[in-house]
Amino acid sequence: MRLVIDESRCKGCNLCTLVCPYRIFRPGTTANRRGVIVPELDRPERCANCRLQHLYGRRLCGVCQMICPDQAITWEEEGPCEPVKVAIEY
């Protein structure tokens, strides 16, 4: 699964930057076409839900999605790809 921010919905409030235990969301720097400064994702593959949703068969963590007042955070299915090693700091 891949974590994505829907740029057509995000209003740039940065609430997501406050809640992620891995600090995946960082305040953005440049405004998009709509004038919204969307947060940047720092190595989103570390997200617990990206890694483990399929294994557990349910949504894990998900607090960023719950607190996002604009329903802008979702996960997308990914196509088959090369395995990559993901470093998680505990």
Partner: protein, 262 residues
């Protein structure tokens, strides 16, 4: 189904301001409804007037967007006409406690089987920031330019005293707990009241030293005090500072409920 399936995708993004806490409360409520496994045909959302009361307009189920303050009155009608429907009310502090105060009290007294979620931003958001019955003493609003001199309503205390079966308070920071509380409210027969304190950056925060959206959320985080801990502090004779927000489950009982099929 997931909670996302309850939104009217074509109506999003909603009209709420940047960082408005109302959106978070809608997420938590829909997530709780989804966990209940209810279907869209048997679920009805009802609201009055205000920013908070616009919520049902973004949800796929049947809904009633009623006149200011009358959400609980309309919801009572729905529930009495067809007790099989699951009725959830979205309301604001002004809608619920000012113009709708009497409906609120009598809803609790009747213990009608509704779940009422109040997005308390401590202000009249939609009309430009007038003081509401929950505006804290000292807070600035357009009608209290020198700071409010009135005491604020404790909405949960009011609901519990008037007879509601389930009462809980959380904030828009406590998303997991809030979802759990709404779920507990949906599960319990009778009147369930969940107060969610929310940030209103535009009309409350801006005037009350919360310049950024995150400032008021940080305040909720640092000033929330779990009710069990508050009780312990009282027993030990410690003083709880006035600005603390008592969160948690504040009442759960089993008074006879109205609108439940026998």
């Amino acid at each position: 189904m997931t909670y996302e399936d309850w939104f009217r995708e074509d109506r999003l993004p909603h009209i709420y301001c940047v960082g408005c806490g109302n959106g978070t409360v809608i997420n938590c409520t829909l997530s709780a409804v989804d966990q209940m496994g209810w279907n869209k045909e048997e679920t009805v959302f009802v609201s009055g007037i205000g920013c908070s009361s616009r919520a049902p307009g973004y949800i796929v189920t049947d809904s009633l967007h009623t006149t200011h303050g009358r959400a609980i009155a309309f919801a009572t009608g729905i529930k009495m006409a067809n007790p099989d429907l699951k009725v959830i009310v979205f309301t604001g502090d002004g809608d619920l406690a000012a113009i709708g105060g009497n409906h609120f009290i009598h809803g609790c007294r009747r213990n009608i089987d509704l779940t009422v979620v109040c997005m308390n931003n401590m202000i009249y958001g939609m009309t430009g920031g007038q003081g509401s019955p929950t505006t804290p003493p000292g807070a600035l609003s357009t009608t209290t330019p020198y700071g409010s001199r009135e005491a604020a309503f404790d909405l949960c205390g009011l609901a519990a005293a008037a007879g509601a079966n389930y009462v809980a308070r959380y904030t828009s920071y406590h998303v997991t707990e809030l979802t759990r509380a709404v779920r507990a409210g949906l599960e319990s027969p009778g009147f369930s009241f969940i107060e969610a304190l929310v940030q209103c950056p535009t009309n409350y925060g801006r005037r009350n030293k919360f310049r950024q959206v995150l400032d008021q959320i940080e305040y909720f985080k640092s000033h929330a005090l779990l009710v069990q801990k508050a009780n312990r502090m009282r027993e030990e004779g410690k003083k709880i500072p006035d600005d603390m927000i008592i969160i948690g489950e504040l009442a759960r009982r089993n008074r006879p409920a109205l609108g439940v099929r026998k």
